[in-house]
């Protein structure tokens, strides 16, 4: 009797485990498939990318990745029209994206960390109002501020400049940097800082010798999310840049209208473009929920 009941329970457990694995595999396939297909397409020749039905088995080629940066249209080709694909110019756009991302994050991190520290430790008058005000900018649809900023930038000469974009991205990332870093500072016990201050230490020194080293992991996570935010931004880059300062997303979006575009090449550019995200998802996994909610939801361990 007892034996058969144990057996039944054991069998039920096995069925359950199998079901869990099957569902997990289906879920993973559903969410990873488009990304897999993107990378797969980047390893196909033009003809292979245009095959019907789609090719699931093929011999991978890295030509697209070489073509992104190395292909140049010679004059003869231009006249005879044999090789109609122009050099993508992608290196300029990647360079622009890199410059803008790096600079704006550097500024936003410094300003944001300082403000977060003050909000967390000193709570100057109006902290709650200011924090809420800073958070509310996240709810603001980009298109609402895009129109006035477009005209400001045109009249101030910031249009189509690195500084203009950097300034804008710094501003857009400040709310995130402040809230996220405040949530990390709030977690660190403040006894040591308090003791140091009572002993008459310089508050500047207390900040960077005691407080800052304790939130380094959080700082890293914050920077990771900032990279994603800036790297992925599209609307303002579209409105405020021309060829000289254009970033990668604008270039990728620009392929939309083309007829008979080389999907292999586009996929290769997109693969390079989303590479930071594919790496950072592993690094930031532990902080994902926190990062997506401005540090307001801590989430599970």
């Amino acid at each position: 009797m007892a034996n058969s009941r144990n057996n039944r329970r054991g069998r039920r457990k096995i069925v359950r485990t199998v079901l869990i694995y099957i569902s997990a595999i289906i879920a993973v396939i559903f969410f990873i498939f488009p990304i897999y297909w993107l990378v797969a397409t980047s390893l196909k020749t033009r003809a292979q990318a245009f095959s019907t039905p789609p090719l699931f088995v093929w011999e991978p080629t890295f030509r697209n990745f070489i073509d992104i940066f190395l292909k140049r249209q010679t004059e003869i080709e231009a006249i005879t029209g044999q090789e109609l694909e122009l050099a993508t110019g992608a290196e300029t756009f990647f360079y622009n994206s890199f410059v803008v991302t790096f600079s704006s994050i550097a500024i936003a991190t410094v300003i944001g960390v300082l403000a977060a520290y003050s909000f967390s430790r000193y709570k100057p008058a109006g902290t709650n109002t200011l924090m809420f005000f800073i958070l509310s900018t996240r709810m603001l649809p980009a298109i609402v501020v895009a129109i006035p900023i477009y005209f400001f930038y045109r009249s101030l000469g910031l249009y189509n400049t690195y500084i203009g974009l950097i300034l804008l991205y710094t501003m857009f990332n400040l709310p995130f940097a402040v809230w996220m870093m405040k949530s990390f500072f709030d977690e660190v016990p403040r006894d040591i800082e308090q003791a140091a201050l009572v002993d008459g230490s310089n508050p500047v020194k207390v900040f960077y010798k005691i407080a800052l080293p304790q939130v380094l992991v959080g700082l890293g996570a914050t920077i990771g999310f900032l990279i994603i935010n800036v790297w992925n931004e599209f609307l303002f880059a579209l409105l405020l840049t021309e060829r000289a300062t254009r970033t990668v997303p604008v270039m990728i979006a620009g392929t939309r209208g083309e007829v008979g575009i080389n999907w292999g090449l586009i996929a290769a550019i997109e693969t390079l473009y989303i590479l930071p995200a594919l790496v950072l998802i592993f690094v930031l996994q532990r902080f994902l929920l926190r990062g997506m909610t401005f540090g307001t939801v801590r989430g599970a361990k």
Binding site: F31, P34, V145, M171, F234, R256, W263, V297
Partner: protein, 292 residues
């Protein structure tokens, strides 16, 4: 207790204000200032291309927009998109959370892979879904043909389905993260005692699970609804609002009025109507979430 309270010196107070000054200044300069300017402009008739000076027209822009059948149709369209996308994401997210609440080997890796879409650039998502949905060489169209037995031109025949599908693909993991965090916050002893008391699935959910995850579910819905309303990049790159205006949600309509037709005054007025809707929705949600 704050640090200030223990030291109380004036130096510290000045120091604390100095630290937040750059942040506040920058936000004011790039958000408040443009918003006020835009609010002013929304009462003017202004067209950049014609280059004439703006003419004050009072609330005419608002009056015309709110009386335009076209604009109301976009409201409904945007509402439909948000409703379907967020509901499906909630259901899928809930399912995924229940799945990943179980411990099994490879669970962490599976969660990481499932959440990958969250960090992928919307522009890349939109452009690449064009290829996936392509009527001739798109792999999704191929699957659809295998299932239904006839060739389906998803982007031209069911554009709304395409944009909702794409949004669901990218954002269901977001819901999952919230709900999973909620589930993991349920005290273990409560689950165990409900097991011992042999509560029915429904009772267990109603009285043990739901009260714990409710605030997180509310927050997840709030974030998702706001973001779905503002969706621009993915739809802009996948369908561009088309075919015709079949997927032209509010943010794309505002973009078109402002930067393709250059009716700036009208565009800012519509943008402010949009803003008011978002603020109202946020308030309703927050009130609902706080009620418990």
């Amino acid at each position: 207790m704050t640090l200030q309270a223990t030291t109380g010196s004036r130096l510290i107070r000045i120091f604390s204000v100095l630290l937040i000054l750059p942040a506040v200044a920058l936000v004011t300069f790039l958000v408040i200032f443009p918003l006020i300017w835009a609010l002013g402009l929304s009462f003017y008739s202004y067209n950049v291309i014609r280059g004439e000076a703006p003419v004050f027209v009072g609330v005419e822009n608002y009056y015309r927009l709110l009386n335009s059948l076209d604009v109301w149709r976009r409201f409904v369209l945007t509402g439909q998109f948000v409703f379907y996308a967020v509901s499906i994401e909630f259901l899928i997210g809930f399912g995924l959370a229940l799945l990943f609440y179980n411990q099994f080997s490879g669970r962490r890796l599976a969660i990481t892979l499932v959440t990958t879409p969250l960090l992928v650039a919307p522009v890349a998502v939109g452009i690449f879904h064009r290829y996936l949905f392509d009527a001739t060489f798109g792999v999704y169209s191929y699957f659809a043909q295998l299932i239904t037995g006839q060739s389906v031109k998803i982007l031209s025949q069911h554009p709304m389905f395409a944009i909702i599908f794409m949004d669901v693909w990218q954002w269901s993991p977001f819901m999952m993260l919230f709900i999973l965090a909620g589930l993991e916050a349920i005290p273990k002893h409560m689950l165990e005692s409900s097991e011992i008391d042999r509560l029915s699935m429904f009772t267990k959910f109603r009285y043990v699970v739901w009260p714990t995850i409710r605030p997180l579910v509310a927050l997840a819905l709030l974030f998702r609804t706001m973001d779905a309303f503002r969706t621009f990049d993915t739809i802009f790159t996948l369908t561009g609002g088309g075919p015709g205006t079949a997927t032209e949600v509010l943010s794309i309509q505002i973009y078109r009025i402002a930067f393709q037709f250059f009716r700036t005054g009208e565009a800012t007025a519509l943008a402010f109507i949009f803003l008011v809707i978002i603020v109202l929705l946020t308030n309703i949600y927050l009130r609902l979430a706080r009620r418990e």
